[in-house]
């Protein structure tokens, strides 16, 4: 092999190293596998208070992640928060009387949406709305309640 070919080979290997690093960063370090997952559908849920819920938060059923929050907005007429939830088609179909609550992972963890399935025969479809929701527990309110109760006694 002459010198030019060796140089070309090394440059080729350099390029390969860069691309390999990109692949490692994509699939090992970051969550791109979330983005390329299968089809799903979007449902809405109105909450009195979403707490610290942010887009990309997990949607879980029985503790298993089945989707993610894609958008949180204010309904300006009802003064409620509207969360749009993306649910993977891989998950089981959800009955229409499914309820949604906002939980916190651990004490300081991020908020996520927990779904509890109901018993209805009909299932939620794309664009449907979850009627039964429970707002996020706000720690300050809880403490306030507690103080108020102990004072009243």
């Amino acid at each position: 092999m002459d010198r030019d070919m060796i140089i070309e080979l090394i440059v080729g290997l350099f390029m390969l190293a860069g691309i390999a690093a990109l692949v490692v960063l994509a699939f090992r370090v970051s969550n791109i596998s979330d983005h390329v997952s299968t089809d799903g559908y979007v449902i809405k849920a109105n909450f009195d208070n979403v707490g610290d819920l942010k887009p990309r938060a997990a949607v879980k059923l029985a503790g298993v992640k089945i989707g993610r929050v894609i958008d949180v907005q204010l309904d300006t007429k009802a003064y409620k928060a509207v969360a749009k939830l993306w649910i993977s088609n891989d998950a089981a179909a959800l009955p229409t009387d499914t309820s949604a609550s906002i939980y916190t992972a651990g004490i300081l963890g991020a908020n996520y949406v927990g779904l509890i399935p109901g018993f209805d025969e009909a299932v939620l479809k794309d664009g449907d709305k979850i009627e039964i929701t429970h707002p996020a527990l706000i720690l300050e309110n809880l403490i306030g309640h507690l103080l108020f109760k102990t004072e009243a006694k």
Binding site: D4, V11, F14, A21, R28, V29, S30, I32, S33
Partner: protein, 261 residues
């Protein structure tokens, strides 16, 4: 006396303005000379080899140490809150967003940009550029453009390699040595690092740094005084300006990216 200071300031201002404008024109003239596939492709390969592939070893070694140090420091702090399983997240975010592009660009400025300036400056001092011109070969096309494009291609690649190696270094220290649980290390990392937001923003930073540092390097070489001293000064200026440009631009880019781009 006071008039002299004012004069001097004005003179310098005009001087810097002129050289900035000149370097802008120079950049434009270089950019439009994208290497033609058949004729100058070997030149480009040659330059990627010396600018990029030869920097691989220093980049990988530095990345390993940077990752190791971030893991060590992070572990010591996180341990106080018994949150050491968040080490993966801390390591990946700080490396991918900031340390990767910035440190890789600084190393690149020190290792490759200085060499580019010295090489082009010496070509000018020994009148090689003039001879090329006389032979009817455009030195911008033949000398400057391949080097510029080689830098443009190489630095983003180096940034990616740096990111991966630094995370590997942090993994070695965090998981293998300090005993952070392997599953939570990778899992926390994956759940908090977004490919489009975090990894790609670091990559774009690398692209911007590549353009600016290589531009500074080739321009300083091309505009160097054709003496031994002039080449030396131009090389110093390249490293100083390129490093400052990287750090300053990093602040601006971070502000833009975090401010909901």
């Amino acid at each position: 006396m006071r008039r002299n200071i004012v004069l001097e300031l004005g003179h310098r201002g005009v001087h810097y303005g002129i050289s900035l404008g000149r370097s802008g024109i120079f950049l434009w003239q270089t950019v439009i000379r994208w290497p033609q596939p058949t004729r100058s492709f070997p030149l480009l390969i040659q330059q990627i080899y010396s600018v990029g592939a030869m920097s691989l070893s220093i980049i990988m070694l530095s990345a390993l140490f940077i990752g190791a140090v971030v893991a060590l420091q992070g572990f010591n702090t996180l341990e106080k809150f018994s949150a050491e399983q968040e080490l993966g997240q801390l390591l990946a975010l700080s490396v991918v967003r900031e340390l990767g592009p910035v440190v890789a660009a600084l190393l690149y400025a020190g290792r490759s940009c200085s060499a580019l300036t010295a090489e082009i400056g010496l070509m000018k001092a020994t009148e090689q550029l003039d001879s090329l011109d006389m032979m009817g070969v455009d030195p911008l096309h033949f000398v400057v453009a391949p080097r510029f494009w080689a830098g443009f291609i190489s630095l983003p690649m180096l940034v990616l390699v740096f990111d991966a190696m630094a995370i590997f270094g942090g993994y070695l220290i965090g998981v293998e040595w300090l005993g952070v649980d392997q599953g939570s290390f990778w899992n926390n990392m994956q759940s908090s690092v977004d490919f489009h937001i975090d990894v790609m923003s670091g990559f774009y930073k690398g692209v911007v740094f590549a353009i600016v540092t290589t531009w500074i390097a080739v321009y300083q070489g091309f505009a160097a005084l054709p003496t031994a001293e002039g080449v030396g000064r131009a090389t110093t200026r390249t490293v100083v300006y390129a490093s400052l440009a990287v750090l300053g631009l990093d602040f601006i880019l971070t502000a833009v990216m975090l401010g909901g781009w």
